[in-house]
């Protein structure tokens, strides 16, 4: 209990510090001015979300290989947390896009593939609710998770290859390319902070999943009596 509260406090501090840094330490960007400060949050959340999905993929593989319940629990936990991060990315994106490009949404490569990614993991969680038997649910959703993750680079490749041929309303140099040193430091600090948040949330969600399986076991026993 104590340890959890401490970890929570540290994570909160890190996220707060990252926000402070992106507002007050990072220098003003030339073309977008203050608006560019969304970047530290938006892009770092995207990185953390992708890491969460990678964790999910590894957990899925390990489940298929070892068939241990804990990998299944880690799979759902990281998928849900990853989804939360990608949701943040998909919300902050348009908020940034509107003043920067004049529109909320453009079907450009990054946006579209992130959206497809989001849909894939929604399907993953949906599938889990539709299979009753725990072992089968774990196995089949793990397999679907594996297929989804393999699909991600292909989706990205496809959309980037063809969609960027069409002129986007505003063409923006991809952030991250040639970042000024202070900006770079602030960005990587943000990435670190959001990864800490991600790990914390996965741990919390994992505890919940453990509790859920415990309840399931007890329910089984109660029924047996």
């Amino acid at each position: 209990m104590w340890k959890r509260a401490m970890t929570g406090a540290i994570v909160l501090f890190l996220v707060g510090a990252a926000a402070y840094a992106s507002f007050f330490i990072a220098p003003e960007e030339k073309t977008m001015h203050v608006l560019q400060r969304i970047f530290y949050f938006h892009a770092a959340a995207a990185w953390a979300g992708m890491t969460a999905f990678s964790v999910c993929f590894v957990a899925n593989l390990l489940y298929v290989w070892r068939r241990s319940e804990k990998w299944d629990s880690l799979g759902v936990s990281s998928a849900e947390v990853g989804l939360a991060f990608i949701t943040v990315v998909l919300i902050t994106g348009p908020i940034w896009a509107k003043p920067a490009w004049g529109i909320y949404w453009t079907w450009d490569a990054r946006l579209t593939s992130t959206f497809v990614l989001w849909l894939l993991y929604i399907s993953y969680l949906l599938l889990r609710t539709l299979i009753e038997e725990p072992d089968r649910r774990a196995l089949l959703s793990a397999l679907f998770g594996i297929f989804s993750f393999i699909d991600v680079p292909i989706v990205f490749g496809a959309i980037r290859w063809w969609r960027t041929q069409h002129p986007a309303p505003v063409i923006m140099g991809g952030p991250g390319s040639g970042l000024e040193p202070t900006m770079r430091k602030v960005f990587f600090f943000s990435v670190l902070a959001l990864h800490a948040l991600m790990v914390f949330l996965i741990a919390e969600r994992y505890r919940l999943e453990k509790l859920r399986t415990d309840v399931e076991v007890l329910r089984r026993e109660a029924e047996a009596i």
Binding site: I131, L143, F144, F147, S148, D151, V155, A158, I159
Partner: protein, 224 residues
């Protein structure tokens, strides 16, 4: 070797049952027909517009139709628990998938080729000069759709709401196929048609990647 002979025997069974009733083929063809007609009401199919929209429309229709067509793929095997009989009999469960996806590819390809002339007439796009390229794209895309669809129908057959679930699992996964085949078809329907090799290569890569994944993980999809 037994993989090939098993696949052959199973493919024979798939084809025999389908061509005996032709249930899948007729329903899919009628479905696409309806979609093609309905689409024409959503925009005016003049020649120039058609060139722009027709490829996307065509592939959307095929994709939706395939999510219907692949539905019974594993559901059918549950009826008399023939899936268990197959699992008991074959030495490699991959044969079950290979046979099904070969059959599905064939059915999809057949549907597409049957509807192509009609489509060409109704939407006024010239298909004859680029027919051989179209067939290649149709094949690669149908194969990809079948690989993903067959594996996912093995999943959805074991869940609740199976009829609704398959499209939900399958369509997002198939975005790359939709994008690539639409783009390649678009360049083939162009005023000055050309072959987009990178698109064709892309479809091939998708097929290879997912076939490998199915080969590696297929047997677990059927586990009990």
């Amino acid at each position: 070797m037994s993989l090939l002979s098993n696949t052959g025997a199973l493919l024979g069974k798939e084809l025999r049952t389908e061509f005996r009733s032709r249930e899948l083929l007729t329903t899919t063809i009628v479905f696409i027909l309806i979609v093609i007609v309905l689409f024409s009401f959503t925009f005016d199919p003049t020649s120039d517009e058609s060139r722009r929209f027709a490829p996307g429309l065509l592939w959307l229709a095929f994709l939706f139709a395939s999510s219907l067509m692949l539905q019974p793929c594993f559901l059918r095997e549950q009826h008399n628990d023939t899936l268990s009989a197959l699992r008991l009999s074959v030495s490699d469960p991959f044969a079950i998938f290979l046979a099904k996806l070969a059959a599905n590819t064939l059915f999809l390809l057949l549907t597409e080729l049957l509807l192509l002339p009609l489509f060409a007439v109704m939407y006024n796009v010239p298909v004859v000069p680029v027919l051989h390229w179209l067939v290649l794209v149709f094949f690669l895309a149908s194969f990809g759709i079948s690989i993903a669809g067959t594996s996912l129908s093995a999943i959805s057959a074991q869940a609740r709401m199976r009829e609704l679930l398959l499209p939900l699992l399958m369509l997002p996964l198939l975005t790359p196929i939709l994008v690539a085949s639409t783009e390649v078809t678009k360049s083939l329907f162009d005023r000055a048609p050309f072959v987009q090799w990178k698109g064709i290569g892309f479809l091939a890569v998708f097929d290879v990647v997912f076939l490998t994944a199915l080969w590696l993980f297929g047997e677990y999809l059927l586990e009990e």
